[in-house]
């Protein structure tokens, strides 16, 4: 057999295999792709996001899947790196036949891959902010409340509850943190505050003391840290070692990180808390309490005391997708997208989503400011 013949046969065989695989996908299962960080700074959040989504998938599969098809999730580890995310998305599109994406919080990775995905008319439900391009946003849905909600929650506290009027910002290199830093600078004056400096850092930095001291020297009497990940622990320890005695107000964060920060700063650490993190303080009459209970009960059975906050968003994404598929009575991307655009308001664990109004689904600020005192989460009244 000549080399040309062998190559032709191999190519034909691969084409047949791909066709069979695609046909199998089309007939037997509904494939959900997820670009998520299983390593790197975003790992804690994205692992929770995926596990929350998986919990919902397990529940739906027990009920027969979506429109009779078994749901399968394919997760590609983007290692918190945008270029890795793009490779992962390509693989999920070409090899796995993903029909929808339920992806994590790596904004830059989701932005980079979006043009290719949108061309294929595949909806994306993400835990990141959305890009600016309208043609991309038309297919993307953010489960993340607006960044301004996190920023304003902190600015309002400083205005109403403290004498602090000059603040410094520490923000990491992610688009999400950069956007929050920009919003804080724009919104501060509305709250009678002045931003005296904004210092960027990398999540992997071993020390932030020089940046913190620079902000303090410029007059900052509180530090607003923008962005998520364990760098908050480093910032907290640097603050303590500098003995500045000023508070740090962090972004939303996984409880495992917050607990470590609280061990260092105590009452000088305040954080933007999601509803699942303060569930014991929610009134029984509030509809969100039952929604959280429906999610947290199986979550606790599977994962114990692990923070359900970020996982709740992944769970919400799947619940909303299920609503959209039910409404569309179809698994086709375009029809699912149209259904998402006309869904009535949906009460999730992290807030009230209303994608018919805005693809940043949570339009009302769902956050409160909280502290960890004596190991317990306490809402700052």
């Amino acid at each position: 057999m000549s080399l040309t013949t062998a190559t032709t046969r191999l190519a034909a065989g691969m084409a047949v295999a791909a066709f069979i695989s695609a046909s199998a996908n089309a007939q037997d299962k509904y494939v959900i792709g997820s670009s998520a960080a299983y390593s790197g700074y975003a790992a804690t959040l994205d692992r929770a996001w995926v596990d929350g989504a998986k919990l919902a998938i397990k529940k739906f599969n027990e009920q027969g899947g979506f429109l009779g098809k078994k749901i399968e999730i394919v997760v590609e580890d983007n290692r918190s790196e945008p270029q890795e995310a793009v490779s992962g998305y390509r693989k999920m599109l070409s090899s796995d036949g993903a029909q929808v994406f339920v992806s994590g919080c790596l904004s830059a990775g989701n932005f980079a891959a979006a043009p290719v995905i949108v061309r294929q008319k595949i909806p994306m439900l993400v835990c990141s902010i959305l890009p600016k391009e309208e043609n991309l946003v038309a297919w993307m849905y953010s489960l993340l409340p607006r960044p301004a909600h996190e920023v304003d929650t902190r600015l309002r506290y400083l205005q109403e509850r403290t004498q602090i009027r000059e603040i410094g910002i520490l923000y990491d290199q992610s688009p999400y943190a950069g956007l929050q830093a920009k919003l804080a600078q724009e919104n501060a004056s509305r709250f009678g505050l002045k931003v005296v400096g904004a210092e960027q850092f990398q999540q992997t930095d071993a020390d932030l003391s020089v940046s913190i001291k620079k902000l303090h020297a410029a007059g900052a009497r509180a530090i607003l840290k923008m962005g998520t990940g364990p760098s908050g622990v480093t910032a907290a320890k640097n603050l303590k070692e500098l003995a500045l005695g000023i508070p740090m107000l962090t972004s939303t964060e996984d409880m495992s990180v917050l607990i470590e920060i609280a061990k260092v700063l105590g009452k000088d650490m305040l954080f933007v808390a999601g509803q699942t993190q303060v569930v014991s303080s929610i009134a029984d009459t509030d509809p969100i309490k039952q929604v959280i209970a429906d999610f947290v009960t199986p979550w606790r059975a599977e994962y114990g005391e692990r923070d359900p906050f970020w996982a709740g968003r992944g769970y919400d994404a799947m619940m909303i997708l299920a609503e959209a598929i039910h409404k569309a009575n179809s698994l086709e991307g375009e029809k699912v997208r149209d259904a998402l655009n006309t869904l009535p308001a949906f009460q999730g664990t992290s807030g009230l989503y209303n994608f018919s109004v805005d693809h940043n689904g949570v339009t009302a600020n769902p956050y409160v400011l909280a502290q960890i005192l004596d190991g317990k989460v306490v809402i700052v009244k």
């Binding site: 299983y38 390593s39 790197g40 700074y41 790992a43 804690t44 692992r47 290199q173 210092e199 960027q200 850092f201 992997t204 071993a206 020390d207 003391s209 020089v210 940046s211 001291k213 620079k214 020297a217 364990p230 622990v233 480093t234 320890k237 303590k240 070692e241 500098l242 003995a243 996984d254 495992s256 990180v257 470590e260 061990k263």
Partner: protein
């Protein structure tokens, strides 16, 4: 413009992070001095030092000092295992140094993933060696842990200097890195020296991780950033020279601080690496002479 105490505080910040880089860089130099290999699993040793101490201290309930010793012992065993299972086999197959360096990077990734799988993905910390507020002088605050880092690093540099210059064992290690074939002809057991190098560098990496963790945190993914900054410190200082690695780390940390203070935090690495590039153009061998030259 900043006042003197603020400038001094900036300098202390740069020194603090520089000491951390230098401490990791020392581990690279020690292994290079016995094998000529750059071990990119060094960052994994650093991470494991902190992580295992956390496990023994916080989860098992062992006293802190014993937890540290146990962590150093276990990581040393891991260093020996990497030498035995990976490096020695590759040497026997006449693999090039490049292949062995790549293998150490694979080991780093294995260590990272194993930690993620068997421990968790959360940040953990251990207590400061000496609890209490920072020392204050001239309006400058100096954390007590950084004094531990500086003190132990200098002690290590001194002891390693003695090892390489005054002992037969240390000279034999260096001989193996300079020319293993000649060292073998002279009766030195090269494999044992390389294994000793791995044990020593792993122990130093673990010690580094234990010293650093109280000032920040440990988590499965912190190894590679430490590996990179420690490698840079070792190259600046002259690969194979522990004192050089330590000073190289301090230089890198101080340059980054200068970038943060006088330009912008986002450009700190641009400033630091621009100066370092210039320096390496002028002294490609690094600041100090390697001990294996």
């Amino acid at each position: 413009m900043y006042d003197l105490s603020t400038l001094l505080q900036f300098l202390i910040g740069g020194l603090s992070v520089g000491c951390i880089y230098g401490l990791v860089g020392i581990g690279y130099s020690v292994l290079y001095n016995s094998s000529g290999i750059i071990n990119f699993a060094q960052g994994g040793f650093v991470m494991l030092g902190g992580m295992l101490t956390y496990i023994f201290y916080s989860l098992v309930g062992v006293p802190l000092v014993l937890a540290m010793l146990a962590a150093i012992a276990l990581v040393s065993c891991l260093g020996l295992a990497i030498e035995w299972v990976v490096i020695r086999r590759l040497r026997q197959r006449n693999a090039s140094v490049h292949i062995m360096i790549l293998a150490t990077l694979a080991c780093q990734i294995l260590i990272e993933n194993a930690t993620l799988h068997f421990v968790d993905d959360k940040p953990h910390s251990i207590p400061y060696f000496t609890p209490g507020p920072p020392l204050q002088f001239l309006g400058v605050a100096v954390g007590l842990q950084i004094l531990w880092i500086i003190g132990i690093s200098l002690l290590l540099v001194f002891l390693l200097g003695l090892l390489y210059s005054r002992t037969k064992f240390g000279r034999a290690m260096r001989a193996c890195a300079i020319n293993p074939e000649v060292a073998r002809i002279l009766g030195i057991k090269v494999e044992r020296m390389v294994a000793a190098g791995f044990i020593l560098s792993a122990a130093l990496g673990a010690l580094g991780g234990i010293l650093i963790t109280p000032t920040q945190y440990t988590a499965f993914h912190i190894g590679i950033p430490f590996a990179v900054s420690g490698f840079i410190a070792a190259i600046i200082g002259g690969l194979g020279n522990p004192l050089g690695a330590f000073i190289g780390g301090i230089g890198l940390g101080v340059l980054q601080a200068v970038g943060v203070v006088f330009i912008d935090a986002g450009y700190k690495n641009v400033v630091a690496f621009s100066v370092l590039l210039l320096l390496l153009f002028l002294r490609p061998q690094g600041l100090f002479k390697s001990l294996v030259e």
